[in-house]
Assembly symmetry: C2
Homo-oligomer: 338 residues x 2
């Protein structure tokens, strides 16, 4: 398996991942300079970063981890003028870092409390790592979570598995990792074969899952199967080799927690052909994005997007020329069935 | 002045206002049946209904009062198929009451704490009247508010002037009411001349402002002037005779708190020619809507809409065929300058 993936990822993908480490660091710096200071007075505090909706008998809570700034130059696959026009339609410009949320999703099914992705902890600096705080604000404790589903092993999704002391942040959870991502990111051989400036990513992944592995609570799975009642793993490769979406279904409603299918809503909904440097296989990421956009639209699924504007919960409408539009969920004391 | 307005409002407008009282009651019932139950367990509570952004040196907080259900049959001015298509694009249908937020806006300028509209108190039932609770959750006290600006005197904007005991809900505030609305809604002659089933609306308005009038803190003004430093009253007639928007400006940024310029975002942004039964002069409401949409777009103003999906803060892009698109503000711990 590893050899196969290494072959696939060899040339261009390696170079991209190398660049990714540098870019992630850059992104944090950009965000810090481009986005205003934190509140001082208590009356300037923003509302806590959680947002609830109901899905049949399930209860879904979006959890805000923070935001990064992404350089628009990382977006490719369409002309610069097309990308700039799409950015401008959302009042964004490439002269500033693109404000990009990092969201996790907590789903209370009939039998489980499931967290999809865990945020960054403090791996990406002080503007992120707020997921545990927002989980508590929403009325939960990390110890309540019995299942963690990772869409992939990038540090803004798996980093929050650990506390700042390096302990398990979710001490009672089984942690599910898609096999192709585990094969790649947890492999010492793959790390050793990788360029030095890429090895930090491998180390972050290994560190994040280590205590769960030791406790016998790391579950490596092949997607396509039902992991919990009402929760199916949907293969969504391209962003990483094992990138996986999770489809939650209750009653007549379904919600697809799709991880990194879209990094910039203003650009990639109207232009799904736009990819991002972070994608390990951009061509495959594009076809997966088109596939899931089509499925979500025709099935009228709700979507939960790790990098869509917080809370990143909404539905999708098809437009002309294979374009799509994002329709965010509306605030309600409790979200009603549509 | 009153005679003039009575003439204007005589025929059709009278009938509409009569219907309005019945519809408002109906709307509350519809909302109660169409929209799900309130949360039971603490972990099912929605995040508090406030949302913050910065505007130059000003601090803007959207405050959620609750929601009503509006009957789609109240929308007119475009064909039924056009309206249904616009609703469908936002996953709404006319078979259910249209979920419609009621929002107020608190603006801390350099010298004042200003509330634009006060919500419903309990005039419209138990699903509304949460503005004071959300104001407190946002870290403020009603006693801190020194200025209340009313966009108009309908009970979902002025009702919150009173506590449930009929006392001043904002005991330290001056209350600003546009003259044409005061002339109409506070006039005993107008009320006496009105049909019986319409008189409740007049009584609600009079009751709401009464203690402020008695305390010498009701200020009736002609729009077009600066009311506080950085706060200009912009005439926006049509929805009511004196309907007024408030333009807040600090540094290079401006925000227009535009009251009831739009009741349904899914329909009226793409189709500003669509009016609603509640408008006392629908033709004038349409031309005012077009005018303010044009101004907000060309000046890149932020907009705060009393009935836009909460938080109702965002900006506007022009589209084809005199249509517009709503771009909601994005969540940030503190909103950065764009």
């Amino acid at each position: 398996m590893m050899d196969h993936l290494d072959n696939i990822l060899a040339g261009a993908a390696r170079a991209r991942l190398r660049r990714w480490v540098a870019l992630a660091a850059l992104a944090v710096v950009s965000a810090a300079s481009a986005i205003g200071a934190e509140p001082q007075a208590p009356t300037s505090a923003q509302v806590p970063g959680y947002f609830r909706m109901q899905l049949g008998s399930f209860d879904v809570t979006a959890l805000y981890d923070g935001h990064v700034g992404i350089d628009a130059a990382l977006l490719g696959g369409a002309g610069r003028a097309t990308i700039d026009r799409a950015l401008a339609s959302a009042f964004q410009t490439r002269s500033a870092a693109l404000q990009t949320a990092v969201n996790g999703y907590l789903v209370r099914t009939d039998a489980h409390l499931i967290l999809v992705d865990t945020g960054t902890a403090k791996l990406f600096g002080d503007r992120l790592g707020f997921l545990p705080q927002n989980l508590q604000a929403a009325g939960y404790s990390p110890a309540d979570v019995d299942t963690v589903l990772l869409t992939h092993l990038h540090p803004d999704h798996a980093g929050g598995l650990l506390t700042s002391e390096g302990k398990m942040a979710f001490p009672n959870a089984q942690v599910f990792v898609p096999k192709a991502d585990a094969d790649y990111w947890l492999s010492r051989e793959a790390a050793a074969a990788a360029p030095k400036d890429k090895q930090a990513l491998f180390a972050m992944s290994r560190d994040a899952v280590a205590p769960y592995l030791k406790a016998g609570r790391l579950i490596v799975f092949e997607p396509g199967q039902t992991l919990r009642e009402g929760v199916r793993a949907v293969p969504a490769p391209g962003h990483t080799p094992g990138h996986t979406a999770y489809l939650f279904s209750s009653g007549t409603q379904s919600l697809l927690a799709w991880g990194d299918i879209i990094h910039n809503a203003a650009v990639q909904f109207p232009h799904p052909e736009v990819s991002i440097e972070f994608d390990s296989d951009q061509r495959r990421a594009i076809s997966t994005r088109r596939d899931l956009l089509g499925q979500a639209t025709s099935n009228r699924w709700w979507v939960a997007g790790a990098h869509l504007p917080f809370p990143g919960l909404g539905r999708i409408q098809p437009g002309a020329d294979r374009s799509y539009r994002w329709i965010p969920a509306e605030y309600l004391p409790v979200h009603a069935s549509p």
